[in-house]
Each structure stands twice: as C-alpha cells, then as structure tokens.
C-alpha cells in the first residue's frame, strides 16, 4: 500500500509537531548570577528593542541570567520580576565574586579578528543557476581556507559542484577589499533524460578566482566573486567554464 493519502500526511505532520514539543520539554534553562553595576537595568517583555520596558532592577541588586538570544539576555530579579536585557547593559555587571562578566559579542575588532565565515550564495555557472552553501576558516585575517557545495540548475542539465580552496584577502581592515582564490573539487552533471545522451558525468575541477568583499555590519559581509574553472574531462580536451556569484556571509 502506498502511504501518501492526505490523512497519512496529516498524521505524519502532527507527529512532527509533537516531536518539536517533546524536544523542548527536556530543555531546561541554565542559571548564572550577577550583581547590577549600572544605575538600573531595563527589563523588556521580549528579546528586541521593539518590545516595551515594563520593569527595572536597581544597582546593587542580584539577578539570575536565564538564557540568551542573539544580543538579549533574559534575567530574573530577586523579587521575581523577569525580562530581557541588552548585552551592553550587562557588560558592567559583576559576578558575585566581583569579577567582570564575560558576554562575548560583536565589535569593530571582530572584522579582522573573526575565525569563521558561513554564507549562502547564488549566481550563474555557464548558463546554469547556482544555489550554494559555503564556509571558511581564517588561518590569519587575510588567509582563508574555504569549502562550498552548490546545486546547479540549468535548462539542459542539472548538477552538483563541491570545492575546497584557499583565498587571500588583500586588505581585511578595509571596508571593501579585493581577494583572490584557488582550489579544486568535483563536478557532477546529469543531463536531462529527454536529451540524446542521458549519461551522467563526474569530473575533477580546479579553479582560480577573484572578487570583492565588503562589510555590511560587524557581523555580515557581501561578497561578489568570479571563478574560472577547468574541468578535467575524460575526453581529449579540457573544458573551461565561468562562474559569477553573489554571497551573503555571516562571520563570527
């Protein structure tokens, strides 16, 4: 029996939803204490500047830090009031032992001091559309080890492209900096079944590329890149293909 009826689907979906609830039930918030050093802490109803301030906690009071979401920390005062506080307000709080509380976050220094980059990209590879996930590890602020996986969607064929490479950023401290990169990987192409030779191909590739990357904020970058690939085919001649991409990168 083929289980694709709408009732089976609804059952499966409700199981998934229940699974989400069950996963959260085992989820307990950890707790950490701090003493307020600012004149007061503003407690908001939600983790964002758009939520109203409904409570304050005065200087010298102890608060429990319950959980953190992006730059916002949920705290509970000794009198039981709860709310979300921005990281910047807690930076001057102290632990009960009198040490400075460590709450790492972004700063202008993180632009050249970050270690990891994650991004999504889209673009064009010789007429085919590219959807790509990419990551990089920075050995130094200007030397990156990069890896990416892309799905290629063309009119007459589809495929996958995965590469590993290194890149050099010329001026990482500049707002916009050029970079160059080289690397290699694999290309798998599946022609559409309606064509005469529906034969899948997997080939090794190497690339050289150059591009520009610019910081949007202390966490995000926009990167544009051109890469020229050489495909080492099993035929007599190697093939050369061009790729243009734009990517949105998060670094930390």
């Amino acid at each position: 029996m083929r289980r694709t009826g709408p009732i089976y689907r609804l059952r499966l979906a409700s199981c998934l939803l229940l699974g989400v609830l069950a996963a959260g039930a085992v989820h307990a918030a950890s707790s950490m204490q701090a003493v307020v050093q600012d004149p007061f802490l503003e407690l908001r109803t939600g983790p964002g500047r758009g939520f109203p301030v409904t409570q304050v906690v005065d200087r010298g009071a102890e608060v429990n830090l319950l959980r953190r979401r992006t730059d916002w920390i949920k705290v509970r005062g000794t009198n039981g009031v709860e709310g979300w506080v921005h990281r910047s307000q807690l930076e001057r709080t102290l632990t009960p032992a009198g040490a400075q509380l460590a709450l790492p976050g972004p700063s202008p220094e993180s632009r050249t001091g970050h270690r990891w980059e994650l991004g999504v990209a889209t673009g064009d590879l010789e007429g085919a559309s590219v959807v790509r996930a990419q990551g990089a590890y920075l050995l130094t602020p200007s030397l990156l080890v990069r890896a990416d996986v892309a799905q290629l969607l063309g009119n007459s064929s589809d495929g996958w492209l995965g590469t590993l490479g290194i890149a050099h950023v010329f001026m990482p401290q500049w707002r916009v900096s050029p970079f160059v990169g080289i690397g290699g990987g694999g290309l798998h192409v599946e022609p559409e079944a309606t064509l005469v030779q529906p034969e899948d191909r997997s080939d090794t590739v190497a690339y050289a590329g150059l591009g520009l990357r610019g910081y949007l904020t202390d966490r995000f970058m926009l990167q544009a890149e051109y890469r020229e690939f050489v495909v080492f085919t099993s035929r007599d001649d190697n093939e050369e293909i061009d790729e243009w991409t734009v990517s949105f990168v998060y670094f930390f």
Partner: protein
C-alpha cells in the same frame, strides 16, 4: 533561461545592501576609561569562579503543515521542516524543506485521457536557503492579561524544486508572523511564493506557487 528570476533575486539583494545601516565609523570612538589609581594593592587571593555558560538559544527548528497551490495542478497539503539561525534580533537565515503531492490539471480531469505525470513525478519537493528580516517586532494580546512577543518577518532566498522529473532553480519570497508562546516555543503563520521556470506543459513559463502554512518551532 531564468533571467526574470535572477533579476528579481539580485534586486532584492541590492535593496538589502543599500538598506543595511552603515555603522562602520559610528562605533570606532573608544570610551575613555577613567580608572582611579589604586594606592594599596590588596593581598587577597581572589577565588576563581567558573560560571556555567549561559544557555544561548539562537537556533530555531520545527515543522509546518499547510496548503500549497501548484500552478496548473491544483492545491495540495504541504508539510515540511525549517531550521533557522538568528544572527541578530533583526536578521536570520533559514533553510526550508517541504513536500506535497500535486493533483491533476483541469485537462486531465476533463478529458479523461492519459495522465501527464507519473506518481513519482507528481511529488513536489523543494528546499530553499533564505535570509530573513524581522521587520515588525511587537506583541500579540490575548484577552486583557496575556501579551506574547511576536514579529512580522520577510524572507528572500533561492533554492531548488523537484517536480515533473526535473529540478528547477527557485526563488522563494515569503512573509510571516512568529508568535512566542513561551520563551522557547514559537507559532508561525507563513505565506511563501515559490517561483520557478517550468516547461512541463510544453512551453517555458514562470510559475508562481503560493504556500500558506502553520508551523511550530522550538528555540535551542
């Protein structure tokens, strides 16, 4: 060619790039620390305290169910999962995977002739990688005593759809409402347009497939 799709996507990216606040120089003025000189160095050995790490909950994962209107093939039940990472209170990235069984075209129903697609090809499966923006943070009020944090968000992304035996480059444009039922459970109402070029009915055309879903997610 997917030219219209790409123009749509690139213009979206351009808007994001222009609209992002330029904070490059605003934050470079260091706060001058005025420390009082310490006359006596206290000979107290401070106890090393290693506080347990604060529970950081920037990931959001969950499932959704709803209806997907597949152009020319009627509306079907769609279900799937989503995984999001919140970079800041405003910006998040999201990966979505969804699947639905397409119905029949009006032609197939009326003519009673052979079916255009096999059962396997009728399965509509898509994924997309999107960037989202929490445009309108706020609160949802239930009665006079209960207020729940919420956000209206917009997403733009690219991905791939497998339908009719072929993969299609897909641009996903969406908007939704996220309501936090408690600190870590969120309820989503989400509308999304999956646009891709298809030649399934003999001619290239841009198809728009609208999806409306209800979802539950957990932050962790």
């Amino acid at each position: 060619m997917d030219r219209e799709l790409r123009v749509l996507l690139l213009s979206g990216l351009a808007v994001v790039a222009v609209a992002t606040p330029q904070r490059a120089h605003a934050q470079e003025a260091p706060a001058a620390e005025t420390a009082t000189p310490q006359v006596v160095e206290p000979r107290v050995q401070r106890r090393e305290v290693n506080p347990p790490g604060l529970d950081t909950e920037n990931f959001e994962a969950g499932a959704f169910v709803g209806t997907l209107s597949i152009e020319d093939f009627g509306a079907s039940v769609v279900y799937g999962g989503r995984l999001a990472y919140h970079f800041t209170e405003d910006v998040f990235a999201e990966a979505t995977l969804g699947t639905a069984d397409a119905g029949k075209t009006s032609y197939e129903d009326l003519s009673g002739s052979a079916e255009l697609l096999s059962d396997d090809d009728r399965q509509f499966t898509y994924y997309d990688l999107s960037v989202g923006w929490n445009a309108l943070p706020g609160e949802v009020f239930l009665g006079g005593r209960r207020a729940m944090p919420s956000a209206v968000y917009f997403t733009l992304g690219a991905g791939s759809t497998r339908f009719g035996g072929d993969d299609h480059f897909t641009v996903a444009l969406g908007a939704g409402l996220r309501v936090l039922a408690n600190d870590w459970i969120a309820v989503h109402l989400d509308a999304r347009n999956l646009a891709f070029e298809s030649d399934l009915l003999g001619k290239d055309k841009l198809t728009h497939n609208l999806q409306f879903t209800f979802g539950l997610t957990a932050f962790f």
